[in-house]
């Protein structure tokens, strides 16, 4: 049976995350080839997923002072333990 647009929207994340089997992927690709609305929706979700990942990469540029304090705490711990 053909997937409806609602069905496709429920499987879209698993599709983008590479979690679906061959048959399920084929059904989705077939639907996307015929349905402009779902092709746009999948494009939106793909962009959202990429933006979320990109946000994680720029969220912390690395605080040298914090890194120093972690390493200093560890060094102190090792010295007091030895």
């Amino acid at each position: 049976m053909m997937l409806t647009c609602r069905d496709l929207s429920h499987q879209a994340d698993a599709f983008l995350d590479g979690e679906l089997g061959l048959w399920q992927r084929l059904r989705i690709r077939l639907h996307l080839a015929m349905c402009n609305g779902c092709a746009r929706f999948m494009g939106q979700l793909r962009a959202t997923r990429s933006l979320v990942m990109a946000e994680a990469d720029v969220a912390d540029t690395g605080d040298i002072a914090r890194i120093d304090s972690i390493l200093a705490a560890l060094h102190k711990e090792k010295q007091s333990g030895s």
Binding site: N36, L45, S50, L51, V52, G62, L74
Partner: protein, 197 residues
Amino acid sequence: MLSNETELLQRLVTGDRAAFEGVYRRHNAGMVRFATVILRNRASAEEVAQETWIAVLRNIGGFEGRSSLAGWIFIILSNKAKTRVKRDGLSVSLDTSVDDDPFDDAFDGRGRWRDMPELWDEMTPERIVDGRQILEHVSEAIDQLPPAQRAVLVLRGQQDLDAEEVCEILGITDGNMRVLLHRARLSLRQSLDQIGR
């Protein structure tokens, strides 16, 4: 365990500062965001993240690779955050329930789109590099998600933990995790969709 992760671990064990800086930059913001979900307080979350890093470096030699390095770090973080919450007499439970899907209203009785989704030709990944403003919008939208959705999005959608690791850390089923991730991405999609209007 991936071979590049094995190499990274060896560098961490030998106290390679550059290796630690790389791992810290990759995970720290996500750790603070995740711990904030549990602790409901950013300052406490930053303290717990710092304690976690010290524990990670102290015990890195004993890491056996049964989970990914990121999964191991987040399990330690989660345990420390839950311990802090209990110590402070707060509730550790996270509301992971999901109600009916409001997105189902987007479809008619035959499961077809009521309104055609917009074409996002302005938000291709190529534009992300210069899209600082868009990313700031994404940050704000993530911070406004319900706590359980935010937690799943950070662990699965940003830190790339395995589905099983996410379920173990949050104590939820695979089905529940997938619904929470789906809802989170749909909310962000809707938020982004409103930018260009």
